[in-house]
Structure formats: C-alpha cells, structure tokens
Subunit: 163 residues, 4 copies
C-alpha cells in the first residue's frame, strides 16, 4: 500500500467518550476512503481510530513510543516499536500525508506543531487553538465533523502529493 | 496483526543476484508461515524480501531511514518514514521478534549487533562471522538455507515470546 | 557539569532582531546563573542564545537535526549531530530541566508541547498562546523580560529536581 | 568547541579492570591532544574514558540512552538525555569524526558497524574481529596500545575532515 494516502490521527490516550466516538468515526471514514491510518498505537483515541479503521476493513499502523510491540492496541494492522518515547511523534507525522488532530492533550499539540513545521496539512477536530499576543492564529483548518475532517485531510493530502 | 510473529530480514541495498534470491525465498517463507516481515523498506535485499512476502500474500513493514515514504520499494504492505537515517536500524530490530541477516553490508552488521544487544534471536545466512583475539565467537546461529533460517527464526521467536 | 541545571532555549532559526536580542540576553543570564544552556545548535535564536552564553563564559550544547556536526553555530560549546530531523526536538527538551520558548515558529511550539507532555516547566517569552473552544488555556508561564524568564525557569527547574 | 576533532570512545558498561585502564588512558590522551570525547555517558568503559578526559582537563559529551540526564557518570562535561535506548548509538557515532572501540560488547559492535556504514574511521583496541565465509575481513584498524589508537584515530579524523 505504497500508493494510497496515509492519514495520521492523533489524540489523547485518555480520551473522553465524545473524543472516542470522533476517533472511531474518523478511523472508519479513512478506511472507507481507501487511505491508510497512522496512529501512535496505544489506547484511548488511538485505539478508537484503529478500531474504526478495522471495522471498515482498513489498514492501520501503530507507531509505539515503547520498546514492546505487544503493547499496541489490538486493532492496529501492524505495530512498530520505536523505543524512543515522545520522539516517535515525529515519525507518526513524518509517515503521514496529512494529520487529523482530535482533543486537547499536549502530545497531540506536539504532533500538530511538528506537522506544521514539516509543511504537512493539519485538520483539527475539537482540539487546540493557537494565538499570539492576544490574537488568534489560524495555522490549520478546524473541522466541525468527522466527515468534514476526513474529506479536508484527504483533499489536502492529495493536493500536497501532486504539487 | 498484533498476535503474529514479526521477523526482520536485514541485508544489503546493493544485493547480489544470489542474495536477492535468498531474500525472496526468506520473505516468501515468512509469509507462508503466517508471520509479518519487517525490513528497511528500500531496494536490494529489502525489496527482494518484501517481494517474496507479497507474492505469498503476506504482510510486510518497511521502516525507512529517509523522510519520504514514497521512497519505499513497491512491495512493502506499509511504509514508515522515520527521517532518522541509520538510527532507524534500531527500530527495525526493536519491532521484530527475531532477525534474519543476509549478506555482508555494514548496516546489516549493525542490525545483527543491535539485536544481540537487545537479546533478540539472530539467524545468519551467508553473512558476517564474529571473532575475538583470533578465535571465532558464535554469537548467533548460522543457517544454511532459507528454509533453515526461517524455521530457526520462527522457533526462536516463539520461544522468546513464551519465556 | 552533571550537577548544574540545564535550561533549554528554543526559538526560530529566522529570528527577528528583537527575538535575537531576547535570546542573547537569556543565554547570557543562564550562563551568569551557572546553568548549562541546551539549544538546537543552528542559527537565529539558537545562535543568539549560545552567543550570549559564550559571552558570559557559560557552557552550551547544540543538539542538531542534521548529520553534520560542523553545521552548528560557532558559539555552542559542544555540538551533537543527531541526523534525526525534527525528532531531535524531543532530545533538546528531554535533556533540559526547564524550557524557555521565544517567538512563534512551529518547531518552537512543538518543543513547548513536548516539554509540557514530559512534565517539564515551560516559560514563554513573546511566544505562542494556547486555547480551546474560544477560551485561553494557561498551560505555561508567560514571562515579560529575559530576567523574569530565566529566574522563573531556574526556580521551576530547581523545584522539579528536588520534588 | 566546534573546530576541535570529536572522537567517540565506545565500550562495555561492564568493563573489566584491563578495559577500564585502556579506556582511562584513551580518554586522557584524547584530552591531551585537544580533542573532544564523545561517549555513551553511562558507567564502565564510558566512565573510564570520561574520567581520563576530565583528569587531563578535557571536554566530554555523554549521549545517554535513558531519559534522565542525572544517570550520566560524574565525569562527563555535559550529558544529553535521548530517551531513545539503543538508537542513541547512531548519535554517538554520528557526532564523532572517528571512533575508538574497546572490548567485546554487542553495543560496541553496533557502534563499530554504524561508524563503518557512515564512512567514519574506526580503530579497535582488544575488540571484535570480523569475518566472512571462514576468512578474516579487515574492515577497520586494530591498534595495540592506547597511544596507537588515539594517534591513529586523530590522524584518520583529520584526514576525513580535509578530504
């Protein structure tokens, strides 16, 4: 699956029920659209997204911070054990053509920032907002629904690939 | 595929025809035995092994040193772009339950050494031999055929998992 | 210098003159207070901070994203070549006891986020502000002067060490 | 110290008294020759080398596999906490202009191999020997004394820099 688009879904390991539902829907839609899901491989939002992908017959990659591959959630298609802690966030983002960020964990913020630094499209869903000197900075797109987030991410990823 | 065994196949990006044939057979046998193949994602031996896996309907992961996922060979099921250069060798090995090393490139030697350091089973196939002070050091098993290599690696991986 | 406090100073490689002045003063104050400066090793804000440290006789470490140590700015005491691209941001932060963030680059935002994720004190100086759902999130201290930033970072680092 | 030569000294964390003595002398000689020592930052051979450097007034960098900088041996001038496990071996080697390998640990073998892969000069001192198909492969220089090792490494590093 080297020609498909890869979409990273990043979010909290301690997801709320609402975030869990968003993650599951985003994962399912990514799979239905034929894209590969990249995530951090652990529980919470990562597990919800991988579960959604699996339910729709999709393929997902879990890039773990730990050194033990068996710590991956049971829904990822394949797991990669980096043993590199938070430095693996850069690999999650690097591997993807676009990033969908859900919820408000600091690790998620680091992945938003790394993606923006690498010039990759970022779509937010009920996640961080950025500002400077009291004003809002619109550095990435904020989507309102899972459908909106996945459509926007796939369109941006397709555009980035062909440009 | 979080319950399957993961076997890394490491070898030269500039593989000889004989090494290429060994890699293809090893990749095919890993797939036929139901295990996931982990490799460095580039050409040469890595491509041969991924091609063998794909021909047998198997699943493979290419863990690239580069930052561009599209540089993966076309046979890997999924590609991970680390952007970390040779440091990705540690991820290839870390992700696997056992390592099969083919041929005599220095990167391959580093993967043999990292696997031994991590306590992972290593099986060699026409690869490096180690020594100290003029004497041979038998730090890992040397196999004589692809069948032997894959059987030995899978048995050692199974044993490592259950111990 | 394993007993001294280590303070990371993170900021843009394309620093404005005002940011450059802030970085130089922060680096100088860190050195005057006997702490080791950690930075990303390149130009702009990183060079300004390392230059300030050097001018005050301090010690600084440049943790480079590139594979070539000689790309470090001339003011760092020692340079480390990771060859890992943006993943090195996690090392900069991991090595420090507290982080001072200056200016508004995305790499800087990633370092703020990684530090918060790792539970390290963060002090901002004319840098990013965070929010959620239209409201401000005060996830880290915003300082108003270099003196304030360095004093706050050192106090927080000292507290983190002894707790 | 961005113009000085950087020499990595790699060896076992559980060093024998003889290896410890070799490491101490190598570290001292590197410092006396004005070069910066790079090591893995932990105990055993790494501590011996850093101690030798410190005794001669030299500068050394400890690049730790762990996430806690305070685990560095007390002799390194500065410590870098990668939190990346064995993947840090690539950083130790990448940062150096040449590598001196002492003793027979697998991590040491990985650093020899990574250095050869990166095209960096390697000098061995009572360390691994390599072979293929029953014959010896002389992939790097074997020195017989600390003086010989340091002189050879510095000459090769100097040559590599100017070529």
């Amino acid at each position: 699956m080297t020609r498909e688009l890869y979409i990273a879904v990043v979010g909290p390991s301690a997801a709320t029920p609402a975030e869990h539902a968003l993650g599951e829907q985003v994962g399912r839609l990514i799979a239905e659209r034929g894209a590969v899901l990249v995530c951090g491989g652990l529980g919470g939002l990562m597990e919800a997204a991988a579960g959604g992908s699996a339910a729709a017959g999709g393929t997902s990659i879990g890039v773990l911070p730990t050194a033990d591959r068996t710590e991956a959630n049971p829904y990822v298609t394949v797991a990669v054990a980096t043993g590199m802690g938070e430095a693996r966030n850069a690999i999650v983002v690097r591997t993807a053509d676009a990033v969908i960020a859900i919820g408000g964990e600091f690790g998620t913020l680091s992945e938003i920032a790394l993606a923006l630094k690498m010039g990759k499209p970022v779509v937010g869903l009920d996640t961080w907002e950025l500002g400077k000197r009291g004003g809002r900075v619109e550095a990435f797109v904020q989507a309102s629904t899972p459908e909106d987030a996945v459509s926007t991410a796939l369109a941006a990823a397709e555009l980035a690939r062909t440009s």
